[in-house]
């Protein structure tokens, strides 16, 4: 067994009734501003043909990816993949709220807290988890749809739920050199993928703002820094260093002439 924790969510889609108690509990627990949320519930609408109708709701929040595109763009390392818990966290003391990571997240799981000038997102209620409690959304989930735990522990609730599930899927993003490997597993929801019971289907989630996962976005500032300014300045610094090195070598070889300064 892997000694390190890999916290993740398992969401039983068949049990979600779109009551959004998780959103309320999350906002209360984490002081989320009124115009923001860390959890979303997507209504996929009515599926199937009468009378075999089905209505599917897909809750989602930060997927705490194994390979998150958001942490790669953070200039200061304010957002990072925590080595001990496997959670993607934001150190708001180090964050200046520039929003590079908000653009890069394929799941739109981050928001800018304009009042505090920082980025905020799901932290799996880490202070609660450290005390042995469940995250607020999980603790409050009326239908028992949301589960949370250590995916590396085969005896944990999430691992057992995954083992016994009829069907498992993830909103994995594998494109443009990324493989996010999200740590939210959706179980028991064949309708989400058109009733096809195949294990590795990666159908996108249709949200109001488009499909998730989406392509990571990189702003002009971030792109220009990486692609233009960095090579340009390394050339400049390299040239400057070279000139200095040539003269210094010459100085070492020729030696210093006394009284000639």
């Amino acid at each position: 067994m892997n000694s390190k924790k890999r916290y993740g969510f398992v969401i039983d889609v068949a049990r979600c009734i779109d009551c959004r108690a998780c959103q309320v509990a999350c906002s209360v627990e984490n002081n989320v501003p009124m115009d923001q949320t860390r959890i979303w519930v997507q209504d996929l609408g009515v599926k199937g043909e009468f009378p075999n109708l089905e209505r599917i709701f897909v809750p989602y929040n930060c997927m705490h990816c194994e390979h998150p595109p958001c942490t790669e763009v953070c200039v200061s390392g304010a957002t990072y993949k925590d080595q001990n818990t496997g959670l993607v966290l934001v150190d708001q003391g180090a964050c200046i709220g520039c929003g590079f990571c908000v653009d890069a997240c394929p799941y739109n799981a981050r928001y800018l807290d304009k009042k505090r000038g920082v980025v905020d997102k799901c932290n799996a209620c880490l202070p609660r988890v450290e005390q042995g409690k469940q995250p607020a959304c999980v603790a409050t989930c009326v239908g028992g749809s949301r589960m949370f735990g250590n995916l590396n522990d085969p005896q944990s609730e999430v691992s057992l739920a995954l083992k016994n599930a009829r069907f498992v899927m993830r909103l994995d993003y594998e494109a443009n050199g990324h493989d996010t490997d999200p740590n939210i597993y959706y179980i028991n929801a064949p309708s989400m993928v058109g009733l096809e019971l195949s294990g590795d289907t990666r159908q996108p989630l249709v949200t109001q703002s488009g499909f998730l996962p989406r392509d990571p976005q990189y702003s002009l500032a971030e792109q220009g820094w990486k692609k233009v300014l960095t090579p340009l300045l390394f050339a400049g610094i390299g040239a400057s260093f070279l000139v200095q090195a040539v003269y210094f070598t010459k100085q070492l070889i020729e030696g210093e002439k006394e009284f000639e300064e």
Partner: protein
Amino acid sequence: MSYKAIPLEERRRLRDKKYKKHNLANILTHWFNVGMWLLLLPTGIAIISSPRLGLSPVWWQEMFRNLFGNTANLIRFHSTLGLIWTFVLTFNILLGFRRYFVPFAATRMLLDKDDLDWLRIKPLQMLGFMKGKPLPPQDAYNAGQKLYMYVVILGTIGIMSSGIVMTFNTVFPPWIKQWAQPLHWVSVFAIVAGLIIHVYMGAVFPEEKEAFFSMFSGKVSAWYARAHHEKWYWLKVREELQWEEQVAKEVEETGQTTI
């Protein structure tokens, strides 16, 4: 006349004679700036940890994060020191020492025709061409130094303004904070590119040894001035002659030869 034709006796006299090149305001501000750069540059490089940019070694980032406990403390140290640096430099230049810096900027920074010639000839000479061609005489600062001074001034303004944007992160909108980061970095490393030459020329290069010690004493020998900053040397000589004439006139007017 090239300084190389100056005979021994005259060289001896010139070596003993000193001219004041830097005033105390300049020296103090320079060394304050050096100290701050020594603290701010390593911590700044340690902060930039984006693997997408790949601008600093991981062991360096981790060393400083361990030293300060965490990323937030490292950034707090860097931004607090940066604000002190910004305040002291701005205060010194605009208020405290303005009597020294404003005339300094007015008389020593402008590029003239000789400077432009120097900029044409010197780089070619460094590459090994036009070895025989003499360099045009230079002011208190040569054209390369003058050019670098503009880079430093613009870069410093860039560092300070973008640093303030990033420090007071609740005030500015995200797009400004996004652009402040590359601006901060570019400003720093435009200065660093020149700084490598600046430090080498100032502290290591044998012919410029006097320049290094002048950053403590403020003074250079007339010989050094004659050899490296000829125009400034003749300016100093003219000033001296004017002063001598002035004294002679005063003595004549009062008609006294003894006190």
